[in-house]
Symmetry: C2
Subunit: 342 residues, 2 copies
């Protein structure tokens, strides 16, 4: 190893991936898209492609077993992978599940985890086809890969947005993050006084956004019915701001979004205010919403106008205009990307 030492924090997650994967070349002609989108795209026939995505989840980094029921964890672990397949406009078909556990876990705990995995498989109609099992010296580690399919002509990449395309997001944002804040707060209360009962009443929506989110397969279906093919798409896993940067970078464009257009549920906004947080900041940087962020041609606007599941939040601009947020007073504020995220 060389003497030089570059700290990972200097690079951020995406800088690190770019650095590590840059030297790789392609050997196989059926590899259509490798690293750099929600899923890899592999040609399997003249008409069809296979989509492959994978996620690694670690106890203490991605989830806390103090407040995450194992069944919910299993469900969500599958869901986050399916979300990546949907973000390519594909149909999810198979998953593999690997896990490592210490022997402090009894079989019954793993059965809970797998009950959640099965629930997700049954709901989304995907098959569990493999995995790996290992002992762990520390916490629970889960690695899931998902395999999907799509017609070649239907695949939507991050890179397809055109100038003036509208930027659209499904559902509402920031809820999963506020759910996490509530759970973290109750954890601290419980640690200080274990006899206290958790006070989570009235927060079902936010807790569900955090603990049992759903991947937006329905949006893919809605768009097909409306005959709208997005020009680019990504799922909102790391926060809206980060995903806007990915879409813009891949499409070599700028983007302008409007503060007031960002869909935020009233419960999210109220919880944010309760925590002295700005709801828009929570929506921009919170993450784990698993909504879909996509661009559509202006011509398709009438088809989605008034649709309760989709909100136009801005539009794509030329690259030199940069990535900007228009605030309530009409001021243009350059949007900041996030750094290293789990």
């Amino acid at each position: 190893m060389s003497e030089k030492r570059t700290e990972l924090d200097e690079l951020g997650e995406f800088g690190l991936i770019d650095k590590l994967t840059a030297p790789f070349t392609t050997h196989v002609s059926n590899t259509i898209k490798g690293v750099g989108d929600d899923a890899a795209v592999i040609s399997i026939s003249d008409q069809e492609v296979m989509l492959v995505t994978t996620d690694l989840l670690l106890e203490g980094v991605h989830f806390n077993l103090m407040y995450t029921p194992l069944m919910h964890l299993g469900y969500k672990a599958v869901m986050v992978n399916l979300s990546d397949i949907f973000a390519m406009n594909g149909t999810a078909q198979q998953i593999t599940v690997s896990f490592a556990v210490s022997n402090r876990f009894p079989l019954e705990a793993l059965e809970e985890l797998y009950a959640g995995i099965k629930k997700a498989c049954d709901y989304y109609k995907v098959d569990l086809v493999g995995g790996d099992t290992s002992s762990s010296l520390s916490g629970l580690v889960i690695s899931i890969s998902a395999i999907g399919r799509a017609n070649k002509s239907e695949v939507v990449y991050r890179s397809g947005a055109k100038e003036n395309d509208l930027l659209v997001v499904s559902g509402d944002l920031g809820g999963a993050y506020m759910g996490l804040q509530l759970l973290e707060r109750e954890k601290e209360v419980f640690k200080a006084n274990p006899s206290m009962q958790p006070d989570l009443e009235g927060n079902d929506y936010l807790l569900e956004r955090q603990l049992k989110p759903e991947a937006r397969q329905d949006i893919i279906h809605f768009l097909k019915e409306l005959e709208v093919k997005p020009t680019s798409m990504i799922d909102v896993s790391d926060g809206l701001a980060s995903e806007i940067f990915h879409l813009s970078k891949a499409s070599k464009l700028g983007c302008t979004i409007y503060d007031e257009k960002i869909p935020i549920d009233a419960k999210t906004a109220m919880a944010a205010l309760d925590f002295n947080m700005d709801p828009v900041t929570c929506a921009l940087n919170g993450g784990e919403d698993y909504e879909l962020l996509f661009t559509i041609s202006m011509e398709d606007y009438d088809k989605i106008k008034g649709n309760p599941h989709m909100t136009v939040i801005g539009h794509m601009t030329d690259l030199n205009s940069g990535i900007n947020l228009v605030d309530k007073n009409g001021a243009l504020i350059p949007l900041k990307a996030q750094g290293w995220k789990n």
Copy 2:
């Protein structure tokens, strides 16, 4: 969660997988083979299938960074996955690589890891197409999935062996295990006296078996050239005994192997004796050899007879005869399966 507590050690790895995956049903018609072979088999056309396999590797469980160079670790991590694709008689084409690290790792360490991954990709002509990156609170975690292809008629399952088929193994066994013993011994010496230089001279073969094994793609090619299609196949990752149990169980047969036929390199045998171990036990239970174990029809025997890369070590019997080892004195000893393995 129920009150019952079943310890994982009671079940063993394969018992655990059976228990957890039993409730799952199939939703997608193109899933040909799910859990229970070296790789999942997914139909992609009338003629072709895709093969998918995955492995999870944890620092302190599967590797020790005190004596495993990161470049070798990267190479081996890819290789163990490709070995599973070859064990289905397939061609490896793509991999995804996920990892979690603590920030004690500098970029340069990960570049070493990825240099090894790239070396394996270049040598085996596979493409890196995706992955996930995360921080880790404890050690390094690596999760790799491999994707391969095969003609439907060429896929070899664990379950295809027939009574009287010959059991054949490639290369030689037990070397990787003895390499590990040498490295562990030197680690203890170093811990006791850090000024001591490691004494590993003359053990290149065993160290290479442990640190830089090769998946036996060549055997797949040899067999094609010889026009031998194995009736069943598995790769030797957990030790010969364990793999014989898998093949026999999947094929619903018994098996008899001959102690004296098990291919053991002289260096392995000498190292075993040096450690007061029985070389045959090391070959049976050592693991990590990444050789291929397969069965062939008696009719094909002449085609592989005398081939220096393959050794006939026994034959398949009816189920009721059980799984037995014939020792040097001709005595029949029931073979024991291993329990929980990493």
